[in-house]
Symmetry: C2
């Protein structure tokens, strides 16, 4: 009887070719990060449900997979809701676990600590094309460094990793939460309305200026404030690559003296320096640009924020920023923190569209034999072929040998040999079909 053997809804099995591309991309990214002095750490897939329900994770907390209590701890009769039935949950990101990790282990870690994390996270999203309920995140973070150096290095390392993958047309867009706040305040919005306004402005890419305007008005914000904000957004949209948009923001804020503040001035200067440094130290072909509409969804960001977009794609492929207060909320000791996360699944999707990653792999050959071949001779022959990094697969030769060779070639094999009693082993080249014939 055939049972349902599909993976759970919204989750994937990964076939050999898929895993190989992912592994090669992972090696390239981790190699780039290692050269910047980052070290990989790991936390368990499960965290306490309490830890993942503090509000730190924003909307992601609604998508949590809870793990049922076990044994005597489970009291179904007394349970009023799901939180009474569960004690653990699958992590929905790598940032909250890292903050916990650092709060727990800081004494055993270098100061500042440069971390790499790559691993699966889980969100019970509505299944849809390109969205998965288990997916890989790849983050770097610097903990314990409040300087601009941390921010520029994260941008540089991430841009280098993405460039190493052969991705081009990349732009790092930067903003600062404090500057964004000052700008929205200068339009006439109240300080306590900022989080709600941010969430609406964050939808600009999806709903356009008119959509943002309508939603702001529908939420009851003052018409005059909304009108001013729309002017700011329009000015941003019309700005060319060479326009000094940051200069314009500086002047705009100066005119609203009452609403500007030291934080905004510091943020503006820092952003200006960041753009300047990045333009000189990013890998070739990676641009940096101030984007006054950049919001980033999470509530925990406290300063500089950044995202990477790629020409021809309407989604960002990496994002991050400074979150100086999260660790303090856990450990009671304030620690500056800043991170950059690569959207690994999106990057893999782009690489698949481009036909994979060039180079590497190494020779892969098949050693054919008859079904009743002498195993001892077969093992000896395989051992003579299995030198250096060559991958040797032993295979029973089929009747339709030509078709078998074609199949191997399509799987990336580049050579084969046939075990024949009394004959010397000869390694022959596979391929050329579809390739250059010069």
């Amino acid at each position: 009887m055939k049972t349902n053997t599909a993976p759970p809804s919204g989750m994937r099995d990964l076939l050999p070719e898929q895993v190989e591309l992912r592994d090669r991309a992972t090696r390239a990214i981790l190699g780039a990060y290692a050269r910047f002095g980052y070290s990989r750490v790991e936390t368990p897939a499960l965290e306490s449900l309490e830890r993942l329900s503090t509000g730190e994770g924003g909307d992601n907390e609604k998508l949590i997979y809870r793990v049922l209590k076990r044994g005597g701890k489970l009291d179904i009769g007394a349970a009023k809701g799901p939180d009474d039935l569960a004690d653990l949950a699958l992590r929905y990101d790598l940032t909250v676990p890292l903050a916990r990790f650092y709060a727990e282990h800081a004494g055993h870690l270098p100061d500042p600590f440069r971390s790499i994390q790559i691993g699966p996270v889980w969100r019970a999203e509505r299944p849809q094309k390109g969205r998965f309920r288990q997916f890989t995140q790849c983050d770097i973070d610097i903990l314990g460094d409040d300087s601009e150096r941390a921010e520029i290095e994260l941008i540089q390392a991430t841009a280098t990793a993405l460039a190493t993958l052969g991705l081009d047309g990349l732009t790092v867009r930067v903003n600062d939460r404090r500057l964004l706040a000052a700008l929205v305040r200068s339009c006439g919005f109240e300080a306590d309305s900022l989080p709600a306004v941010f969430i609406i402005v964050d939808k600009l890419d999806k709903v356009g200026q008119d959509g943002v305007r309508k939603e702001l008005l529908a939420k009851g914000h003052a018409e005059q404030a909304v009108g001013r904000l729309m002017e700011v957004l329009a000015r941003s949209e019309s700005a060319g690559a060479d326009d000094d948009l940051l200069g314009w923001v500086r002047e705009t804020l100066a005119q609203h003296e009452a609403d500007s503040n030291d934080g905004a001035r510091v943020a503006e200067q820092r952003l200006s320096r960041l753009c300047d440094l990045a333009s000189r130290h990013l890998p070739e072909g990676v641009r940096v640009a101030y984007d006054l509409t950049l919001v980033r969804g999470m509530g925990y960001y406290t300063g500089t924020i950044f995202e990477v977009s790629a020409e021809g794609y309407d989604f960002s492929i990496a994002g991050g920023g400074r979150y100086d207060e999260m660790i303090g909320r856990m450990s009671g000791r304030s620690v500056p923190a800043c991170g950059f996360s690569i959207g690994f699944e999106r990057v893999i999707m782009m690489l698949e569209e481009r036909g994979g990653l060039p180079g590497e792999a190494g020779s892969r050959v098949a050693l054919f034999h008859d079904k009743d071949a002498d195993t001892d001779a077969l093992l000896a022959a395989a051992a003579t072929l299995r030198v250096d990094d060559r991958r040797v697969t032993t295979l029973v030769r089929r009747k339709k040998f030509g078709r078998q060779l074609e199949e191997l070639e399509s799987r990336g094999f580049d050579g084969f040999a046939v075990l024949e009693p009394g004959k010397e082993l000869e390694l022959r080249t596979l391929g050329g079909s579809g390739g250059a014939s010069s």
Copy 2:
């Protein structure tokens, strides 16, 4: 306020040094397997609860982490037990998911299919030293090949991977479930009592011969049968490395003609060939030995079974065998299958005891600068150092510079440079302390 920042009970955070050793061991193992033509695949961490509750997983199914249903599917009031509240569960091993994977994707996979899996599994065991509730398994399997070649190749590849890690004093112990069954039957046990007898014999290492005898008698097995079985176990224990134990078993079974059968004869011949082939084709220093007491816990094994033990350790570091019927139970189409699983956590523990893995790593240097150094100059200097695979970490120079250098050295750094305005960058060597001074 300091909150509890420890990972969940029985689970671990992995610090940079730990991850580095694990990553290097993983690369060595996967490299060895790749040379035998194996390809890595991945399945989700979660499987349907139903899939993980078929009995296939034996006692591991009792240790399952269930994931709570979400939204409207969760009906707490109507739930009679935990299984009514959950629809998914975390996998407790990689074999059941692989069988599901193959049943689902066989049409897109080579035939036979050589798979590698490495990844976390979860079991809600009572927390104890050296046992974790999330731990890594590392399996290779050959699906679609019923020949002895599959078995010898799995043994060869696994032994090669373990030898690559520098582990020595390794013995591959082999047995066959059919031969074990015939032997136990020949002592006078009934066919339907075999699974229960196997479970008790499997405890031989822990409880000794006397413990096995007592438990068999306590379970009501016939005194005469128990007595004969104890003679067999005693004969096995007293056998020297050069004794032909398999020949003795052959004779013993021949004397009990009524209880022997074709399956046992085939199994005995296969084992004999396997030992012979393995002794000629295993990496240097790895022995192979027939172990008539080898049981392997899981119920799904159907033929050859194997384990690897290491001198000086009382646990096995790898185990596996043939499980020809599991995939058929899922897909309705019978597929021969055989696998070998490395106990990754135990291997890492052994490597840690030996002080890690030799070689590799690459140069790791620090670039020191003052707190108020010019970021532009710092980035430029770091870029000049960051050549080839060299890992360059920028660090603020502390007052106690000597101590800072010592700390770096203990973390594996081998060089440093100091950024000083107007001076040329000079890369100096760290180390020598504790090393050879010749």
